[in-house]
């Protein structure tokens, strides 16, 4: 699994917006890149989805881009196929990039284990935070620790996040 302080592997993946997106290009244009391994079908992802939209909205002006990557096996989980991703993104009005990792190579290279699983990269592509979005999937009003937001504030201020690693909570990645 990608460790804190390591450079993240590059990737080029197709997005639901019809564009191929590379990490190198995203890093060149942003102060931080939030990679979240995600999917359509997982109820934990669904529970956190509004907060993913809110984070992209709140940090877009500060040079942060959120990139959701779906690596799940779409044979066993057909609602995770590329067409369903496009539909989901349109229905929910995703303001973040939503990419398909059909080969699962990117998920393996990062060591993603769950959806959602967050990997926060600074402008140099170095991993600064890894884990969950916050500490309460079920109730956004009961969140005590906003791990990802806190880590973003630290990274944007040039500091190390207080919590660099938390446990990813969610569905397991559905490997082929």
């Amino acid at each position: 699994m990608l460790e804190i302080g390591q450079k993240a592997p590059d990737f080029t993946l197709p997005g639901v917006d019809g564009v191929e997106h590379s990490l190198a290009d995203l890093l060149a244009r942003h102060q931080a890149v939030v990679v979240i391994f995600s999917c359509n079908h997982c109820p934990y992802v669904r529970a956190w989805e509004d907060r993913m939209i809110a984070i992209q909205r709140d940090y877009a002006d500060r040079g942060v881009v959120l990139v959701a990557i779906n690596p799940n096996d779409a044979v066993k989980y057909p609602e995770d196929d590329f067409e369903s991703m496009k539909k989901r993104a349109a229905e929910r009005g995703f303001n973040f990039l939503y990419l398909r990792d059909e080969s699962q190579d990117v998920a393996r290279a990062y060591g993603a284990t769950h959806t959602p699983h967050v990997f926060l990269l600074d402008a140099s592509g170095t991993l600064r935070y890894r884990g969950a979005i916050d500490d309460n999937y079920s109730d956004p009003d009961a969140v005590e620790f906003s791990y990802l937001r806190d880590a973003l504030e630290a990274v944007l201020a040039g500091r190390d996040p207080e919590r660099a690693v938390t446990d990813a909570v969610g569905c397991t990645v559905k490997w082929k």
């Binding site: 997982c42 109820p43 934990y44 669904r46 529970a47 079920s138």
Partner: protein, 106 residues
């Protein structure tokens, strides 16, 4: 009352669902015969018509009737709370309604 608590160990939502079930049973003062069944394979999921973890059957009936239309498979199950929010765990209200409905029918 007979309850089947079906779960897939790979999905982390079942301990919370189990606690909620226990709390509601205590609150209602119900004695129930609960069978905990771990679903391990696609075949077992098919046999139990298991739409995801956790699934709670009260007298053989799913506490969330929408489960009947879902495919059987090893996955985390999506519930919708009373406020419309998605959740991997059924609410205590949903559990309570199912238990109370079964009581009325008994």
């Amino acid at each position: 009352m007979r309850i089947h608590f079906l779960y897939w160990a790979e999905c982390p939502s079942h301990p919370e669902a189990w606690q909620r079930l226990q709390r509601v049973l205590t609150e209602l003062g119900l004695q129930a015969e609960i069978e905990r069944i771990e679903i391990r394979t696609d075949e077992e999921a098919e046999h139990w018509k298991f739409p995801g973890s956790p699934t709670i059957l009260v007298e053989g009936r799913d506490i969330d009737p929408t489960g009947a239309g879902l495919p059987s498979r090893l996955t985390c199950r999506l519930y919708h709370l009373e406020n419309g929010r998605p959740s991997p765990v059924p609410s205590e209200t949903m559990i309570r309604r199912a238990l109370e409905a079964a009581l009325k029918e008994s």
